[in-house]
C-alpha cells in the first residue's frame, strides 16, 4: 500500500490542482491586492486628519495673531521662561507678585516655552506653542475614537468635533496655559490606556510624563478607580493590568505631588485640588454654570453623540473602552459639581471626553439607522450633523476666540511701560488681578494680586480689598486700604472698567488720587494721602 494513495482516493488531480492554484493565487494576491485597498483607506484618512490638523492650526494662528499681544496669562509663562533662560530654574520666589510670595507649579511647560524662546521671539513662542499642542488633540482624538469603534469615518468626525468644540478651540488660542500642554498628553495617555494590553510600556511612559506635567494625573487616577468600580458594579471582569496601572498611577501622582506641592499641601490641605481658588472667584465662575452653559461650551452635537454612546454602552453593548473614557467624564463632572476643580478645566475635559465619545455614538446611531427604512439618509444626515455643528459650535468658538478682552490693549501696554519708566522701583501698584503678570513682566513693580492663588494665605481678603479700593465712595476707606498695602499707584484700565461699572473715591477725589498718566483707555493714579501723615 502506497502512503500517497489516500490522496487520490479523496480528490481527483484536477480538483487538487485547482485548489492549489487558488491557494497560490490567494498567497500571491495577499501582499499586494488586499492590503493595497486597506492601506489606501488608512492613508486617505491619515491625510484627511493631517490636512484638518494643519487647517485648524492655520485658523487658530490666524485668530491668535488678530491680536498683537499675547493674553494676560501668557505673561506668567514669559516670566518663567525668562527666569529659566537666565538661571536654568523657574522663578519660584517672586518679589513682585502679592508684594513678594512663593509659587508652586509644575515647571515642565515653562521649560518647553523657554526652550522655544531660544529660537523664536518671545511673543511668537507663547502664541505658537500652545496652538501647536492643542492641534495635536485632533489626531489623538481620531486615534482614540478609532480605538473605540474601529471605524475611520466616524473617528474623523470625532476629530472634527474636537477641532471646533468651543471650549477646546478657545483654549490656548492666545494664552500660554499649561493646560494646552497637558491636554494632548492626557489624550495620549488615554489612548495608551485604552490599548493597555498591546502597549503597556507606552501607557506607563505617558502616565509618568503626565504626572510630571500636570496635576491632571489625579483626575486620571480617580477616573481609573471609578472605571474599576463601574466594572465591578456591572459584573464585568476587572483585569489585573488595569489594577496594576492604577496602582502605579497612584504612587507616581502621590510621590510627585508631595515633592512639588509639599508646602502648598501644608498650607491649603485638600483645597489644593481647586488651586486654592478664592471663594469670590469660585462663586463668580460657578454661579453661571448651568446645563445650557455646558451645552454651549462642549457643543450640542458632541454632547448628543457622546450621550448616545453612553446609552449604547449602558444598555446595549458593554464596551469597556467606552466605559473607561466615560469614567473620566463622570469624575470631571463630579469634581465640577463639588467645586473641586476650576470650571474652565471641567468644561475643557468634558469637551474632550464628549468629542471622543461622539465617534462610538455616531457609529451606533448610524448602525441603528441602517436597520430602518431611512438607511438612504445616512449620508445626508451626516452632512446635516456637520452643518449643525458648524453653526452651533464652530462659529461661537471662533467669536469667543476673537474676543479681545483676554489680551492687553496697546493703551494698557503704554500705561504699564510708563509705570516702568516713571515710578520708583519700590512702588506698589493696585490693579486688577488679571493684569498682575503683565505688570510683573513689563513694569517689574510689586502689585497687590494676580491669578496665581496657591500659597497665598488670604487671597479672599486681598481681592475684597481691591474691590473696595476701586468702588468705595469714601476717601478715608480708600486711603485706609492704600495705607494697609503701601499702595503708591493705582492702575485703572479696561479690566478695571469692565469689572467695576462705577468707580468710587479714587476717581472723584483728585487731590488724594491725582492722575499721573492718561491715555485713551487707561489712567494711572498717584496716592497723595495717608491716614496719619496727611500727605506723602
Amino acid at each position: 500500500m502506497s502512503r500517497h494513495k489516500p490522496y487520490k482516493s479523496r480528490t481527483n488531480s484536477s480538483a487538487l490542482h485547482k485548489r492549489a492554484g487558488n491557494t497560490a493565487a490567494k498567497l500571491s494576491a495577499k501582499p499586494f491586492a488586499k492590503p493595497h485597498v486597506k492601506l489606501q483607506a488608512k492613508h486617505r484618512y491619515a491625510i484627511a486628519v493631517v490636512v484638518l490638523t494643519l487647517l485648524v492650526l492655520a485658523l487658530r494662528l490666524a485668530v491668535s495673531f488678530e491680536v498683537a499681544q499675547p493674553g494676560y496669562e501668557s505673561y506668567f509663562a514669559l516670566i518663567q521662561a525668562e527666569s529659566i533662560r537666565e538661571t536654568g530654574l523657574p522663578r519660584y520666589d517672586d518679589p513682585y507678585s502679592y508684594q513678594g510670595r512663593r509659587y508652586a507649579f509644575d515647571p515642565a511647560f515653562y521649560y518647553v516655552i523657554s526652550l522655544a524662546t531660544l529660537f523664536l521671539p518671545e511673543t511668537l513662542a507663547v502664541k505658537l506653542l500652545p496652538n501647536l499642542f492643542m492641534v495635536l488633540l485632533i489626531p489623538l482624538v481620531y486615534l482614540l475614537s478609532h480605538a473605540l469603534t474601529k471605524k475611520r469615518g466616524v473617528s474623523f468626525l470625532a476629530a472634527f468635533f474636537a477641532s471646533f468644540s468651543p471650549a477646546l478651540f478657545t483654549l490656548g488660542i492666545n494664552q500660554a496655559t499649561p493646560l494646552s500642554f497637558a491636554l494632548p498628553l492626557l489624550a495620549a495617555t488615554l489612548l495608551a490606556l485604552v490599548e493597555l494590553e498591546e502597549h503597556s510600556v507606552r501607557a506607563l511612559i505617558f502616565t509618568a510624563l503626565l504626572t510630571l506635567v500636570s496635576p491632571l494625573v489625579w483626575l486620571l487616577l480617580f477616573a481609573e478607580v471609578a472605571y474599576l468600580l463601574i466594572l465591578a458594579a456591572e459584573k464585568l471582569k476587572v483585569t489585573v493590568a488595569d489594577l496594576e496601572v492604577a496602582l502605579v498611577t497612584l504612587l507616581m501622582a502621590a510621590w510627585y505631588t508631595l515633592l512639588t506641592y509639599k508646602q502648598a499641601l501644608f498650607m491649603h490641605g485638600i483645597d489644593i485640588l481647586a488651586q486654592s481658588l478664592p471663594e469670590t472667584v469660585r462663586t463668580a465662575t460657578f454661579e453661571h454654570f448651568t446645563f445650557l452653559a455646558m451645552l454651549y461650551a462642549v457643543g450640542v452635537i458632541p454632547l448628543a453623540m457622546g450621550s448616545l454612546a453612553l446609552y449604547y454602552t449602558t444598555f446595549e453593548q458593554r464596551s469597556r473602552k467606552v466605559l473607561f473614557i466615560a469614567s473620566l467624564g463622570l469624575i470631571t463632572l463630579l469634581a465640577a459639581v463639588l467645586v473641586l476643580i476650576p470650571l474652565e478645566l471641567a468644561l475643557v475635559l468634558l469637551s474632550l471626553v464628549f468629542a471622543i465619545l461622539a465617534g462610538p455614538g455616531l457609529h451606533g446611531g448610524l448602525l441603528q439607522l441602517r436597520k430602518t427604512k431611512f438607511e438612504c439618509f445616512t449620508i445626508p444626515l451626516s452632512i446635516l450633523i456637520i452643518i449643525f455643528f458648524l453653526l452651533t459650535s464652530f462659529l461661537p468658538g471662533l467669536v469667543t476666540g476673537l474676543y479681545p478682552g483676554s489680551s492687553p490693549t496697546p493703551s494698557e501696554l503704554n500705561a504699564i511701560a510708563w509705570i516702568r519708566n516713571s515710578t520708583s522701583e519700590d512702588s506698589v501698584i493696585a490693579a486688577s488681578p488679571k493684569t498682575g503678570f503683565l505688570i510683573n513682566h513689563v513694569a517689574q513693580r510689586a502689585y497687590l494680586a494676580d491669578e496665581a492663588y496657591l500659597l497665598i494665605a488670604n487671597p479672599d481678603e486681598v481681592l475684597a480689598d481691591i474691590d473696595e479700593l476701586y468702588t468705595t465712595p469714601r476717601t478715608v476707606a480708600a486711603i485706609t486700604l492704600t495705607d494697609k498695602y503701601g499702595v503708591t499707584d493705582i492702575l485703572v484700565g479696561p479690566q478695571v472698567n469692565q469689572r467695576y461699572p462705577e468707580l468710587g473715591a479714587i476717581i472723584t477725589d483728585t487731590q488724594c488720587f491725582p492722575r499721573l498718566y492718561m491715555n485713551a483707555q487707561v489712567f494711572v493714579l498717584g496716592v497723595n494721602c495717608t491716614l496719619f501723615g496727611g500727605g506723602r
Partner: protein
C-alpha cells in the same frame, strides 16, 4: 528590585535594626543640637515634665539628667525597635516581609515623633508591643495593667480593639460602634489633621495607609480577617479626633503595608514593566516621607530664638499661643494666660483674648490687660500670617505699632512688654 529586596533581607539582623533606629532617632536631635535649640523638642514634652501622672513622676526622678533625659526616650525607642524585630519574626517566616515590617515600623511617623520627645506614649508603645509578644495570659494582663496606668489614652482603644477581636461573631459590630464614641468621650477628643503630608508631626503617612488599605481590600474576602479590617478602618476614621489612635492605626497599617509590598514583589505582573517602577516609587515615597518627617521633628518648638525671647519676659503673665504654654512655663518663669484647654474651661477668658487681639483702641485693650495682669505678649510669625491677624496693622498690631503702652523687647518671635510689667 527583587535582587535588592533579597540583599536587603540579608541585613535583617537585630544589630542593624538597632543601628538604623539609633540613626533615625538621633538625627533630628543632633540637628536641634547643631542649631542651638534645646535638645527636647515639642511643647508636649515640657507639659509631661510639669505633669503629675505616673509618667511625669518617672521623668521627675530623672530630673538630674537635664535635657539629656530625652535620651531615655531614645533608649526606649531602641528597645521598641528590638521588640518590633522580635515580633516581626513571630509574624511571618518570610525574611523579606519581616525586614519590611521592621523598616516600616522605623520610618513610620509615630516612631520618630514619639521616641524623640517626652510623652506617655514613649512608654505606651513598648508596653503595647510587649502585650502582643507575651503568650502567657498573666504576663499579658500585667503588662496591659501597667500600660493602662502609664498611658490610658493609648491603652483604652487598644484594649477595646483586643477585646472585640476575641468576641463572638454576632456581637462585634455593635460593640465597636458603641465603644469608640465612649473611648472618645473618656479621653476628650479634639480634631487634628491626620496626615503627615498635610503637616502633622507624627501623623499618619498617606503612602503607608494607602498601601495598607489596598491590602485590606484584597483580604476582605477572607471572613476571618474582616473584624480586624473593620477595626483598622474605624481607627483610621476616628484618628483625627483622637491622636492616640494615630499610633494604633499606624501600628495596624504596618503589617498590611508590608504584606502588600511583598505581594507586589512576588506576583507575576501582567504589565511587567510596572513592577520595578511600582517598587521604586514605593521606595522613593517612603524615603521622601522619612526625610520630610525628620526635618519636621527637628524644626519643632522650642527653637533657640524662642528660648532667647522667653528668657526676656522675666515672670508675670504672658499672652501667647495656647500650644506654647508648657514652653513658656518652662523657660520664662512666666505664667501663660492661655493653654490648650482654656477655651473649653473658661470661655469668657477666650472671648476676652479675642477682643484684645481685635482691639485697635487703647481704651478697649487696657481693661483686659489689667483684668488678667498681662505683663507680656508673645507674637509668632504664624499669628501675623493669618493665624490671628491678616495684615500688618490689623487689630492689636496697630496699637503695638503706634502706642507707647507697649515696649518691644525681641523680634523673632516678637515679645512686647505691657505697662503692667513696668508697674
Amino acid at each position: 528590585m527583587k535582587i535588592l529586596l533579597a540583599r536587603l533581607a540579608r541585613l535583617y539582623q537585630l544589630p542593624y535594626t538597632l543601628l538604623a533606629a539609633a540613626l533615625l532617632l538621633l538625627s533630628p536631635l543632633l540637628q536641634r543640637s547643631f542649631a542651638g535649640s534645646p535638645l527636647i523638642p515639642a511643647p508636649e514634652s515640657y507639659a509631661a515634665l510639669a505633669g503629675k501622672g505616673v509618667y511625669s513622676l518617672l521623668l521627675n526622678a530623672l530630673a538630674s539628667l537635664g535635657d539629656m533625659v530625652v535620651l531615655v526616650s531614645v533608649l526606649i525607642g531602641l528597645a521598641s525597635a528590638a521588640l518590633a524585630h522580635i515580633l516581626a519574626a513571630r509574624f511571618t517566616k518570610n525574611k523579606e516581609t519581616r525586614m519590611l515590617l521592621v523598616i516600616l515600623f522605623l520610618i513610620s511617623p509615630f516612631f520618630v515623633a514619639t521616641f524623640t520627645r517626652l510623652a506617655p506614649e514613649t512608654l505606651g508603645i513598648p508596653l503595647l508591643l510587649l502585650c502582643l509578644l507575651f503568650k502567657r495570659r498573666l504576663a499579658r494582663g500585667l503588662t496591659a495593667l501597667v500600660l493602662a496606668l502609664v498611658n490610658p489614652a493609648l491603652a483604652l482603644p487598644a484594649l477595646i480593639a483586643l477585646l472585640f477581636l476575641k468576641q463572638d461573631k454576632r456581637s462585634w459590630l455593635p460593640g465597636i460602634v458603641a465603644a469608640i464614641p465612649l473611648a472618645l468621650l473618656v479621653t476628650r477628643p479634639s480634631y487634628t489633621t491626620p496626615l503627615l503630608e498635610l503637616g502633622t508631626v507624627g501623623g499618619l503617612s498617606f503612602i503607608i495607609v494607602t498601601l495598607a488599605l489596598i491590602e485590606a481590600a484584597l483580604r476582605w474576602r477572607d471572613a476571618s480577617q474582616r473584624r480586624a479590617i473593620v477595626l483598622f478602618v474605624l481607627a483610621l476614621l476616628v484618628a483625627p479626633w483622637h491622636p492616640s489612635l494615630f499610633i494604633l492605626a499606624g501600628l495596624a497599617s504596618i503589617p498590611l503595608a508590608a504584606q502588600l509590598i511583598t505581594r507586589l514583589d512576588r506576583r507575576t505582573w501582567i504589565v511587567a514593566d510596572a513592577r520595578p517602577l511600582t517598587l521604586l516609587l514605593i521606595g522613593c515615597s517612603l524615603l521622601f516621607l522619612l526625610l520630610v518627617h525628620e526635618g519636621m521633628v527637628a524644626a519643632q518648638e522650642p527653637s533657640l530664638n524662642t528660648v532667647r525671647t522667653l528668657v526676656l519676659a522675666r515672670g508675670g503673665v504672658m499672652l501667647a499661643p495656647p500650644e506654647l504654654a508648657p514652653i513658656i512655663s518652662h523657660f520664662s518663669g512666666a505664667q501663660p494666660l492661655l493653654d490648650k484647654r482654656s477655651c473649653t474651661l473658661k470661655p469668657s477668658l477666650c472671648l476676652d483674648v479675642t477682643t484684645l487681639y481685635d482691639a485697635r483702641r487703647l481704651a478697649d485693650a487696657q481693661p483686659i490687660i489689667q483684668r488678667y495682669g498681662i505683663t507680656s505678649l508673645l507674637i509668632t510669625k504664624e499669628m501675623r500670617e493669618g493665624g490671628v491677624w491678616r495684615y500688618d496693622e490689623d487689630g492689636l498690631l496697630f496699637l503695638l505699632a503706634h502706642s507707647d503702652s507697649f515696649l518691644k523687647v525681641s523680634d523673632a518671635p516678637e515679645l512686647w512688654l505691657t505697662n503692667e510689667s513696668r508697674g
